[in-house]
């Protein structure tokens, strides 16, 4: 397995942003009640993470260390504005439903974390791959949470009814506590399937 494949796979699984590093939890919980919202959000976040890692890395040699954070935030904000304008123009309904969470991609710790931990030290191309992998890892976790929450909470899949009308909806799944429980379960399952080197004790 070469270096790039390893960076890529590590980003998706071993160092998964959501269940391993516990980053980007705000949107993980907030947008996962419906699959369509989740998909749009994930694509947006993956785009922003990959592109801003690439840009941060491109500018890493000429960024003054003292204002490094500020420069990174501005780069991220620029891409988030791009995503926001595209969503407003082409998918106004979903943009409305996602509300402030698109803007909150700026403060999503995944992007800042990767810019700081990876992109500031490595060349543009591996940084882009790392950002992309982080985004895909995030997408994977969010889609699996959303799948369970939408089926149990609304009885639908991408908005199509799949469970019979008599099915009693688990309203709790569509609400806040359901999101927390599902994330807890995902962390649980992933720690069993792919145990981290050392389980941190609280």
């Amino acid at each position: 397995m070469n270096e790039r494949t390893r960076i890529f796979l590590d980003g998706i699984f071993r160092q998964n942003a959501v269940y391993r590093q516990i980053l980007g939890i705000c949107s993980t919980l907030a947008v996962t009640n419906l699959l369509t919202n989740t998909l749009v959000m994930s694509v947006g976040l993956t785009f922003v993470t990959a592109m801003s890692s690439f840009t941060v890395s491109l500018l890493r040699k000429i960024t003054p260390p003292r204002i490094r954070m500020m420069v990174q935030v501005m780069i991220i904000a620029t891409y988030v504005i791009v995503v926001d304008l595209i969503l407003k123009a082409y998918l106004p309904d979903i943009s409305e439903r996602l509300g402030p969470y698109v803007g909150l991609i700026i403060t999503n710790c995944i992007i800042m974390g990767r810019a700081e931990a990876f992109a500031a030290k490595y060349p543009p191309w591996p940084s882009f791959l790392d950002g992309l992998a982080m985004g895909l890892g995030y997408t994977l976790v969010l889609m699996s949470i959303a799948l369970v929450r939408e089926i149990l909470g609304f009885g639908t899949l991408f908005g199509f009814l799949i469970l019979p009308e008599q099915w009693t909806r688990w309203t709790i799944m569509a609400m806040a506590p359901g999101a927390f429980f599902m994330l807890g379960i995902v962390i649980w399952i992933m720690n069993i399937i792919d145990p981290p080197e050392k389980i941190e004790s609280s």
Binding site: T28, V80, T107, A176, P177, F181, W188, I199, S202
Partner: protein, 198 residues
């Protein structure tokens, strides 16, 4: 009491209880889960958030309605809000270090964390989407901050209580905290119906 003060009060209480920003809107989750290891630092961070959130929501409201809207630069709001928040935090840090060293050592270490705390930016964005007046925005900021303080203190206390319990190894640390937060969220659902904001 005129209409605006009344609605600001309703928004304030809603942000603390029924629509707690942490447990219903999931804002500020990163620091909520990572700082809640100790009760003392949770309370420190909580107060720092209350202060920054209340003041920046006021400043951001003024900037949005008096600079961005007249100049038709609304699409730049994400960048502008985050600069206001980061700039304000930096400013407070310098002032505190100079004049109130004791307070600086108590809260100072939490201030840089707040810049990336999505709750502060989230409150600013909600205030724009819901079209709040100035007073309502400040009430929302204050309520949001106190809501964060309440939630993080309870979670830290719960985590302290279970430190001797036998948690399943795969759930230790983050896993059990998230589930605890879920149980807390369930508790806060009980407040819904008392007051509501749209």
């Amino acid at each position: 009491m005129n209409g605006s003060t009344g609605s600001a009060l309703v928004i304030f209480f809603a942000a603390v209880f029924t629509n707690n920003i942490v447990l219903t809107n999931f804002l500020g989750m990163c620091s909520f889960l990572s700082v809640s290891r100790a009760v003392k630092s949770s309370i420190g961070l909580g107060w720092a958030v209350v202060f920054v959130m209340t003041t920046t929501s006021g400043i951001n409201w003024l900037v949005y309605h008096h600079i961005l809207v007249p100049l038709d630069l609304v699409f730049l709001r994400f960048a502008v809000f985050i600069v206001v928040i980061a700039g304000f935090v930096q400013f407070v840090e310098i002032i505190m270090e100079r004049f109130t060293p004791a307070l600086y050592f108590a809260l100072g270490i939490f201030l840089p964390l707040i810049t990336v705390n999505c709750a502060v930016l989230g409150v600013a964005l909600f205030m724009v989407i819901r079209d709040y007046s100035f007073l309502e925005s400040v009430g929302y900021g204050l309520g949001g901050g106190l809501g964060f303080l309440v939630a993080i203190t309870i979670l830290a206390a719960l985590r302290w209580r279970i430190r001797k319990s036998k948690v399943i190894p795969a759930l230790q640390g983050a896993g059990i905290s998230v589930i605890l937060a879920g149980i807390m969220a369930l508790g806060f659902v009980a407040f819904s119906g008392m007051i509501s904001i749209n």
